[in-house]
Point group: C2
Chain length 183, copies 2
DNA sequence: GCGAGCATGTAAAAGGTTACATGATTAG
DNA sequence: CTAATCATGTAACCTTTTACATGCTCGC
């Protein structure tokens, strides 16, 4: 197995909250889940078919407008069981974060390398933007204390992502300061 | 392209520091680079062949003992040029961190879910261990202030990883405290 | 001598991205 | 009417993992 097919569990998890179409699922990877996993529709549609063949989900066809067919997928009892077992199973593997920028940094041996400031600044802009985006999402999706406990998992991962980005931005700023002293 | 073949640049970057064998390169992914990228020897050997065909690296054969042939790879002038252009190019894509645990968390809607404490504790143990490992590496690889500037990129990414793990551990502890209040 | 680690490769399978393809709906 | 978005699917390609396969060296 290349990575134990986590996509199937994500789909089951989303369908466990409410019935969705393949299109809906695809969109979820741009917003909710996008922070921690990515998948394209070309990967989702075949996976839906496989999950249905295995009996973990079913679909009903609804018609939008005159004749546009939508496949609305539902999770089955065996599907929720599979989802549960995945969540309950241990998660002992800490996957390496594949960060291309960090990789490039590794190959810059000299702290007075002229490319360093520009590279750090580019990342600072990117991560500052992402941080702002996350802050806004956290306040719009979870405006009240009560709303945070309603969908606790979602709240937690947003909060986690926010903290992570905060650290990243701080580290970039600190590193920029460090190199400015040394030139 | 599935991901723009970053492996080739990592190999070039490592060979730019010193000539290495495929075996040496493979080991580098367990230690130095392992924090930010992973690759197996089955991916490295074919990549070396491709890089050599394209003229970015060459190899010389050395003999260990009686007849064990080692291929010691060197980077060429066009190789260093390619490496430079990769580093100089912008890095505008922030790849999503694929963290299976965070994913599972997302699907736990209730903050009194009985599985939560155990899951958080398991991760706390894992990340605490990793943090300790990183701390030790930082002090053994870079014991003095002077040594830090010698291989600045390596120092930076170790420091970054350390900070990231510190945040992760703190967040886990904080979350554990949060849920203990609510039960 | 023997086992751990050195050393190099190929093959098969799975996961993931980009491109190709088509058609319907809805808001302006 | 027309462009953006909804909606579903397949094909080709690349990356990555796991498994298969072989042989040497060195310390004990």
């Amino acid at each position: 197995m290349a990575q134990k097919n986590k996509l199937q569990f994500i789909i089951l998890g989303l369908l466990n909250q409410q019935p969705l179409t393949g299109y809906d699922l695809t969109k979820a990877f741009d917003t909710e889940i996008g922070e921690f996993w990515q998948a394209q529709h070309s990967q989702i549609y075949p996976q839906l078919k496989r999950l249905e063949d295995q009996g973990y989900i079913t679909h009903e066809i609804t018609i939008s407008g005159a004749k546009l067919e939508k496949k609305l997928y539902h999770i089955t009892a065996t599907g929720t069981a599979l989802l549960s077992s995945w969540i309950s199973d241990g998660t002992p593997d800490l996957t390496a974060t594949k960060d291309e920028f960090i990789l490039k940094l590794y190959f810059i041996q000299n702290n007075r390398d002229p490319r360093l400031p520009g590279m750090l600044q580019e990342q600072l802009a990117l991560h500052t933007g992402k941080l702002a985006h996350l802050k806004q999402r956290l306040t719009t999706v979870f405006p009240t204390k009560a709303s945070q406990t309603e969908n606790y998992g979602h709240f937690l991962i947003l909060q986690h992502a926010l903290g992570r980005e905060t650290y990243y931005v701080d580290w970039l700023k600190q590193t920029l300061q460090q190199i400015s002293k040394k030139r």
